[in-house]
């Protein structure tokens, strides 16, 4: 990423999301505030905010349904259908903000992005597959309705616990895993925040995001209709880095890479992920023990090697569906060299319509030739790029200190809270006068640093202990 590209992204005014985005975000904020106090208690101002969200769609095909839903909710009749319509409005607005942001980023980077292919058949197909899940999804929707009526301020232990059974049922259905993971993380936050009535600060936008997302995914056919059949690809996979997502009971290792197809086609940016269920006491370097059966992927990360893949499924979203049996570890490949040589010209994947949310924006870039400012940001010829040093996973060796001492960085460009940031994945840094590369995935096969290895040994083996307990107690 060059200084001029960064300047184009930040537009001279850091935080500027783009034309119309500020207005859209203001509408979201109004609606989100209504959820804080609950739709059952809409004071004038908050009722106006709900109406304003609906009014933004007046000229669209959604207009009538949204207006009707807003009227009904304001007058106290809060049905599933009305909530779904309002959530749909919020999804559409935040989707528009996402599009605006991503286009700005692609333009600044000069990055070409694939177009989303039109759906091969109508929504009717998904309905049939959705039937068995219908009962569970109904349970999710009614819990979400209770939440919306009560508002975050009114949430208590009983309301949170009411989600337990639903989440358990979701976890048992592989098709509904995304919703299970989302709802489990959301409910845990509400539980940890109880009693919320007196809490000083609430993550207002975040919880509205999670609520809306859950309501969207709990509609019949949304999850069971996915993923759409994928193509299979073969070729060389060059790793850029691994982004780690985690809450109490799940961790996702999402690898960003450049795929050089064996058929000679142009190279493309891809992601490949492994998500594992866990418990809150499994943290830090112990996390890497969970995806152990994906040995090739872990070895590629830890040893910094490229991977040869054969006939691996690739979704339209640019996600490779990892299969260790279709991959083998190949030659050494440095993530910074990969970013320098292969990132320019790689085709970025299309974003699935339902995944158009700004938190999902995570575009790999190479940044170099910067000066590190006092607060740890990168100064590129006078344009300052904020570095998100809080998002360095504790399962890897990359620390804010190393990032601050670095001379080149592969990271993900993200947008949150009104500004663009860089989330580092790998850096080049001088340690004891030697130039080394440090990356988030370096400890995928176990910590290589003696201090971290000792800490891991001291914490004993959480996974083994819990498996022993489970073996003894679970099937009684």
């Amino acid at each position: 990423m060059l200084a001029v590209q960064l300047a184009a992204l930040l537009g001279g005014d850091s935080g500027n999301a783009g034309e119309g985005a500020e207005e859209a975000l203001a509408l979201l904020d109004g609606f989100d505030d209504a959820l804080v106090h609950g739709l059952a208690r809409l004071a004038d101002e908050r009722a106006d905010a709900v109406t304003a969200l609906a009014a933004a769609f007046a000229a669209t095909p959604l207009g009538d349904r949204l207006a009707e839903a807003a009227d009904a909710v304001v007058s106290g009749s809060i049905t599933q259908e009305h909530l779904t319509a309002l959530a749909g409005g919020r999804v559409a607005l935040s989707g528009a903000v996402h599009d605006c942001l991503l286009e700005r980023l692609d333009t600044a980077l000069g990055r070409e992005r694939a177009k989303w292919p039109p759906a091969p058949d109508g929504p009717g197909m998904a309905g049939a597959a959705a039937q068995p899940a219908g009962h569970v999804l109904g349970g999710v929707r009614s819990w979400l309705r209770e939440l919306a009526i009560t508002g975050w301020r009114g949430v208590d232990h009983d309301l949170v616990s009411a989600a337990d059974q639903v989440i358990e049922a979701l976890l048992a259905a592989p098709d509904l895993r995304r919703l299970a993971v989302l709802l489990d993380g959301f409910a845990a936050e509400l539980r940890a925040s109880c009693p919320i009535g007196s809490a000083e600060h609430l993550p207002v936008r975040r919880w509205a995001d999670l609520w809306t997302r859950a309501l969207l995914l709990s509609q019949d056919g949304v999850l069971t209709g996915e993923p759409r059949p994928a193509a299979t690809v073969s070729g060389r996979l060059l790793v850029l880095g691994v982004d780690v997502h985690e809450h109490g009971t799940a961790v996702q290792f999402q690898v960003h890479a450049v795929l050089e197809p064996a058929d000679g086609g142009g190279s493309r940016l891809v992601r490949t992920s492994v998500t594992v269920a866990k418990v809150d006491t499994i943290v830090g370097t112990a996390l890497w023990k969970l995806p152990q059966r994906h040995k090739v992927l872990l070895a590629a990360l830890a040893d910094r090697r490229s991977v040869e893949i054969t006939d691996m499924p690739l979704l339209d979203s640019g996600d490779l569906v990892w299969d260790d049996d279709r991959a083998f570890v190949s030659k050494p490949a440095d993530p910074l060299a990969t970013a320098r040589l292969c990132l320019p010209g790689a085709l970025a994947p299309a974003v699935p319509p339902l995944d158009r949310v700004s938190v999902r924006i995570a575009e790999p870039v190479l940044v170099e030739g910067y000066k590190v400012t006092k607060d740890g940001s990168f100064d590129l010829d006078g344009t300052v790029f904020a570095v998100d040093a809080e998002r360095l996973p504790d399962c890897g060796p990359l620390t804010p200190k190393l990032v601050a001492a670095s001379s080149a960085c592969v990271g993900l460009v993200r947008w949150d809270g009104g500004r663009w940031t860089l989330q580092p994945l790998a850096v080049q840094v001088r340690v004891k006068r030697e130039a080394v590369v440090v990356a988030t995935g370096d400890w995928a096969l176990g910590p290589t640093d003696p201090k971290a290895a000792k800490a891991e040994a001291r914490a004993a083996d959480a996974v083994t202990v819990l498996r022993e307990r489970a073996g003894r107690l679970l099937r009684r």
């Binding site: 232990h157 976890l171 895993r177 919703l179 845990a188 940890a192 925040s193 919320i196 000083e200 600060h201 609430l202 993550p203 936008r205 975040r206 995001d209 999670l210 997302r213 780690v244 997502h245 985690e246 809450h247 109490g248 799940a250 996702q252 992601r271 492994v274 998500t275 269920a277 866990k278 006491t281 943290v283 830090g284 995806p291 059966r293 979203s317 996600d319 569906v321 990892w322 995944d355 949310v357 938190v359 999902r360 809080e390 998002r391 360095l392 996973p393 504790d394 399962c395 620390t399 200190k401 949150d416 809270g417 800490a455 914490a459 996974v463 202990v465 819990l466 498996r467 307990r469 489970a470």
Partner: protein, 167 residues
Amino acid sequence: MTDRSPNGATVWARHSRLRVVPPVQPRKLAKVPFVELADGRLQGVVSSGSDIGRVYVSSIAAGTHDYNCSTNNNRPCGGLYGSPCKHLRALVAEAVVQYGADRVSRYLRVEVPEGADLADCLGGVHEPAPAAVVFSRFLRHLAYLEVPDTTLPIPELHWFPATGTVG
């Protein structure tokens, strides 16, 4: 709730990618495999020192600090002689390692003078409470380890960034 926002309420309110529940600290799980702050109690499961197949369910209520300890079959713990047994003390000690003394004392609403042991500052009396709820939450906790992994993407996890390293 822990306020980890850098610039106060506005930042906290307008961000989507936050770690609202702070990650817990790693600890040895052999003696006390399960600890949680939930349902208005510090509660958990303590492995029996003498019988490998037996566990005790221990809990302390927030506010009143009334406590209970029994086997998972609801047989009262023999160590409760008008004061918390060793299982309850182990539960408190491990909770402090896992969540930090601040978070535990805030949740239980207990004043801990400088240098004092949290377990010594709890009032409360023995008040029988059903062990079944806690035990089933523990079994549910263990069941997570049996949920198969998936290589399909979960875009929703972008809302849950891993955080952590300090230094």
